[in-house]
Symmetry: C2
Subunit: 165 residues, 2 copies
């Protein structure tokens, strides 16, 4: 697939999508959280992916620092793909997508949910602000430029209702 890279965009969402935004990539990361490490384990969890697509996506995710590739057999040479710290930090993105999908695209109720290992209670996951301890609602916040923003982005944030619903 041909597409314009998002790498030059001064936006943390675009930079993330430049790494994982290709078709299948996020589901490959999902499989890693389900325990997949070897090529055929990823294939088993994603039976519809073409093997050459899986190969390309895994390589891309290694380049993006989401996976580390370890050789686990010499003859023949075989590799497994292990989540890096950066890859493990993707967990909240996966669950945000799961929450949205459960809510809007699964009319018969949740497909998966999370259970607390200690209390055995089902989690109610949501985006919170550590400072207030409350839910992070778009109506209570505005986007501000950080130290890595450029002037174009600063103008955009000033001129528009910034990322507020």
């Amino acid at each position: 697939m041909q597409h314009k890279s998002f790498k030059g965009m001064i936006c943390p969402i675009a930079l993330s999508l430049d790494r994982v935004g290709e078709w299948w990539s996020i589901l490959i990361i999902r499989e890693a959280f389900y325990g997949a490490k070897k090529f055929d384990e990823f294939q088993k969890g994603l039976p519809d992916i073409a093997p050459n697509t899986l190969t390309r996506r895994l390589k891309r995710l290694v380049d993006a620092d989401v996976f580390e590739r370890h050789r686990y057999s010499d003859r023949p040479a075989r590799y497994e793909y292990v989540l890096t710290q950066c890859g493990r930090d993707f967990y909240p993105v996966l669950w945000s997508l799961a929450i949205w999908g459960n809510k809007h695209f699964s009319p018969n109720g949740d497909i998966i949910s999370l259970e607390n290992l200690k209390t055995k209670k089902k989690a109610v996951p949501f985006l919170a602000d550590k400072v207030t301890g409350k839910e992070l609602l778009p109506s209570d916040y505005k986007v501000v430029a950080g130290p890595a923003a450029d002037n174009e982005l600063r103008r955009k944030i000033v001129n528009r209702d910034a990322l507020a619903g």
Copy 2:
């Protein structure tokens, strides 16, 4: 672009990506949160997108119930694209991606962040569990099947370290 649909997958992440997983779609939603409604406003925020791609993606996002299309001019017929409730609920996904990108792909610090309108303090957004009031860490939870899971998914969840880092 040709790709296999994720629509038949029993997985809330796949169902979400089936709606918004195409290249550019999530950045189009980002622009809506920055205030874009009209075609040329989306174009202005995403100068590298080809107009026919933008047209196709907007149509797809209307079909996916992320945007509602309103006619704002009759001669010529012109439309604007307004986030639905489903689209507004995408906000935590956008911010999860922003957090991940700020942390891992922006070596000079945050590109954007959120400021609380009342307290003027910068937010520290994170994924929390409403039940415990604490951060939702993969090590403290396991994935369980919900009412809409099928048998294949139930087997997968039982057999693997489910979505735990």
